[in-house]
Symmetry: D2
Subunit: 354 residues, 4 copies
């Protein structure tokens, strides 16, 4: 089935005095309360220049709501939001216009597709759409929380309990890790790698708490399947695992199974290696999953590549790129999870017995 | 966008003299050559009772083509295929009908959905549909190969080169691993675990060779995103990674990037940590990925659980279950990959310049 | 957006001892009460041989529910229903297998598509699916009624008031017209035309009473647009009009507009030339529309045509065809309207404020 | 199946210094040649103020391409086009903000939906999208023509031969009728009706010449079904008929059927009451259909209505409305037909044998 809460990302918009990116949301229910501030708050967590370990580009990333919201309420019509570019320096990309950046989408987009796409600024639209999706969810499930944090930067791993971690801890440090002990080492490592003209990746973990049971469909549109797709659609991701994940393959069934118990009237599990979904459907326990991000492809050292007319050459990255995207990717992981939940909530409403 | 090569799985069909499962394929192009034998060959790799390390149920799993194919050619109309159940023993499930099996979908399906679904026999339909999808792909790309194998069973890991592994090696052993040295240890381990009434999981790896470049879409329907969703829609899966995957997060950008070189007229990469996709689109290199399968939930030892009317109780699995599903899951991983490729091939055709 | 209440028709199914047709319904909510008798009752109104003005083929058209319904309740899983063919005489079609029947789909299906499709028995699946859709609607809107009748046969036109016509009047005559005065003339005309080896068409009118207000979407998926598509998807249809329709183009705005008045708390209109929809959305008034059916293409007199290998020839229809399809098309028009309503009801639920 | 050539209309956009409307096209193939002039030329035929029988509002309706097209070629990414409003006088609508206009969508949108939608300026987006769709079609079928004209204004009916009518004749008169003899009477009638504060409707006829055979699908997505839906999605439409249409119900089968003949290697029909489609699929003959438009709902005389808080009242239309929308609706009918064809062409490409 097609998405009920659907959206289209717009990139390389040409607007008055420059460029912009945007998003169109189609299928948002009417009368959902939304303010520009809600969207802006979400974008501020993603924007460049917010700390000294991310790209120094200065983009305020101000959301403009062009349609679909009136008097801070959705109308049920398509919602258009744009965000202007203010600190683009096209000159920095001249060389890359003819040389394919290794492990970047330059080759596949330019040579194999029609030529469009390639900026991570598209993720602005995902974050803006999710700010609205979250309001759709909260209208019906006010306790629902979606929280992500940096679980690891290269070999540095944070210890975080998904059941108790809170937003303040994550937002209280510029790496957005959930483990105070790892803040310094992670910051130092990113700065050190950057000073070498190199880059690093890592893992982001995400928890959904207060998720209504019964979301997801049993065959193809399993909740974990749609989360997996959503996460692998984020640029630079290489892996997804839910609950026990790949490590769960090292346990036996006896060790891995989650026993059921009654907690008052409620069916609960005493452990949660399932990660809050069983057979594709949320069971009311916390949903948690992890996403692998490869090291940033654009690095400031010389690499072997080819030009668009088939000449072998070398390329040294220029510009102001993140040596580690993870701190800014945390809100994007939360955004994609939120969008999946909103879509499945609308589906659940459609088929729920009255 | 909705699927172009779409299918619906049918479970718990009531047909003359018993039950059946089936699949409806909608969107298959006309005039694709298909024989019952092609479908049967695919199903035979998935069926129970094929060796002494899988469930001993005796199901011939014979495919019956009910519509959409005439004179061994598709008609362009919906294709219906059914497979009768012959060795179901409903008595074995009586206890499970009131007690929720831990880490199984009993609770989410019965208490939270409408009551349907729960048999792994649904995967028959995926395999049958993929046998047809493969012919759609081969018509246009005769060299295309999709090969999966058991990469690990619990802690036992196979060493396999995705570029050179062949079907004969995999099919030549009952575990369907790609590493002859691991055949014996894996078989012994499965048998030992089974004798303890326990179960194990592991990892299946899959390679797509000869994939046409340009498949996939740049934003949401990235090829790796659709593969991730397809894999996480298989029962018992907990993770997906492509190319360097989670291990790639331990490398720096310098180590991880795949340099471009020319090979005659062709753009190639000297390494392939990207796993054959860049920015969501196949680049012509081999696509390879790994899928984590948790240990089988149904085990033959006593576990704590609750009944559907809220009583705490114990449940000991009965019946003839696989202590390790991986040997039979290999063709299912291949099937889901094939179905994703067929869908993206049809999309590519729709928008290709002439 | 894709359908929420979706279905796929299956034709030319090969089942034990012969052929069958069927339907797969995907997206039906769980726990909707359905019995085989409800489906059978709907099919009985469509089946051949029910009176002496329709084709004399003797098909009991018995519905078999193969999946998705248990203990007379839907499960939320795909519902499969099949109906066996019992009175097919393939010999009658030998000549038509090489000669294209004029104004029939033989040429477009065989020469331009892959070869499939061509029997009006596919409409069985529409009627069966609608029997289930009606239960989905009635669960929430027990007063909802969908009634169709024969408005005209060639030049013979019935006078019927859509607000007061009842099912008993329509089912009380074999033509299924709503005007007792026209029963005899219509029956006589059909018999006379049939005796000449000729055929006739006509118009079916349909009313939806008790439709909840607010169904439909304001741009593309207008309720009247989806009704138009549904009706033009029925074989042999050539036109659709809602409310005042084509005749409304002869009025001025002053004559045509429907004044609003209050009826207690309720907004009503004093006339209903809008036909119960305004701007694509139901307004709570009766929805009524008309559908044009061309005369049956297969006639028992000689016609000029060509063979599939490009030879000019003549063809005289054989077999047992309806000289007028309208009496049997009445339940099909109702079925398609019901399916559109069910789909829009599920959409409305998805986006309704709580 | 969902649309392959898909688009979303944006209304009531708030942009710098005022309002705008727009359209997002998703699914357009890459490398299709498009200039702003092509889009503008299409919009100029729809815009207000173009002659003295249409609304005198002065809207230049200038298309701005914001994304998806570079160097006059599509990129394969979403195409965003906006058109600024320049002559809106909100004051004129104050009274209508509280009183529901009879036979207008005010009541259904404001009371039953979330409050959005209601301006016929949304059709700008349809026309702009179709200008691009036409280039997709012409790339592959350069001879394809889609021509519409005013067939009737109230009781005044034009005589036009769909096989020979040309664009110059239609564009050569401000009514856009295809019959030179009816130009004067129609203009006089519209002016006379307008001077009475009243309005009229009529019928638009459309022909598609040079349509490739084989477009359309045999069951639900019949070409005529998708055309019917597209036409009934245009504001103010009440009916659709293809080929012989409602009048065809007055013929017998013998009179109605289109005999097949060979014309060289080509299968042709000697008449074309089928209207170029048989069984849902184009047969290569000219496709022609008619669309009924009701008289404009907003009239300049007093009418009975209610307010949004349930008071009965009277309303006299103000503002600068078309007394007859048909001259400006001609390009909208062509646009919707073109969009349906483009979508089906992409579908045909996806499943065509190679």
């Amino acid at each position: 089935m097609d998405k009920l809460f659907a959206f289209i990302l717009l990139e390389n918009l040409t607007v008055a005095h420059g460029g912009a990116v945007g998003v169109i949301i189609d299928g948002c229910p009417p009368r959902v309360p939304i303010t520009q501030a809600m969207i802006q708050q979400a974008l501020d967590r993603r924007r460049p220049g917010q700390s000294d370990i991310v790209t120094p580009r200065k983009e305020p990333d101000t959301a403009e709501i062009l349609s679909g919201i009136q008097d801070d309420l959705t109308l049920g019509t398509p919602i258009a939001i744009t965000v202007k570019n203010t600190d683009q320096r096209p000159g920095a990309y001249d060389e890359m216009a003819v040389k394919y950046r290794p492990s970047h989408a330059d080759y596949t987009y330019r040579a194999l597709s029609g030529g469009g796409r390639a900026s991570a600024r598209e993720t602005i639209g995902r974050v803006a759409a999710a700010a609205i999706a979250m309001q759709v969810l909260r209208q019906q499930h006010p306790q629902l929380e979606v929280l992500a944090w940096v679980k690891s930067i290269q070999h540095l791993e944070a210890q975080v309990d998904p059941l108790t971690i809170d937003a303040a801890t994550i937002e209280g440090n510029i790496v957005r890790t959930g483990d105070p002990a790892m803040v310094e080492p992670m910051i130092d490592h990113i700065k050190s790698i950057r000073s070498q003209g190199n880059s690093v990746g890592g893992v982001i973990e995400c928890v959904i708490r207060g998720c209504p049971p019964g979301l997801g469909e049993p065959i193809f549109d399993k909740l974990e399947a749609d989360l997996a797709k959503a996460m692998l659609s984020i640029p630079a991701t290489k892996g997804f695992e839910i609950g026990s994940g790949f490590a769960g393959t090292l346990l036996t069934g006896k060790e891995h199974n989650d026993p059921f118990v009654m907690e008052g009237e409620k069916v609960r599990t005493t452990s949660n290696r399932s990660g809050g979904v069983q057979g594709g459907i949320s069971n009311g326990e916390a949903i948690f999953f992890r996403v692998a991000f490869k090291p940033t492809a654009t690095i400031m050292t010389s690499q072997q590549t080819v030009t668009s007319d088939g000449q072998e050459t070398e390329l040294q990255g220029k510009g102001r790129h993140d040596a580690c995207v993870l701190p800014r990717a945390v809100p994007i992981v939360e955004a994609m999870a939120t969008l999946v939940l909103a879509d499945h909530l609308l589906r659940q409403r459609a088929i729920s017995s009255l």
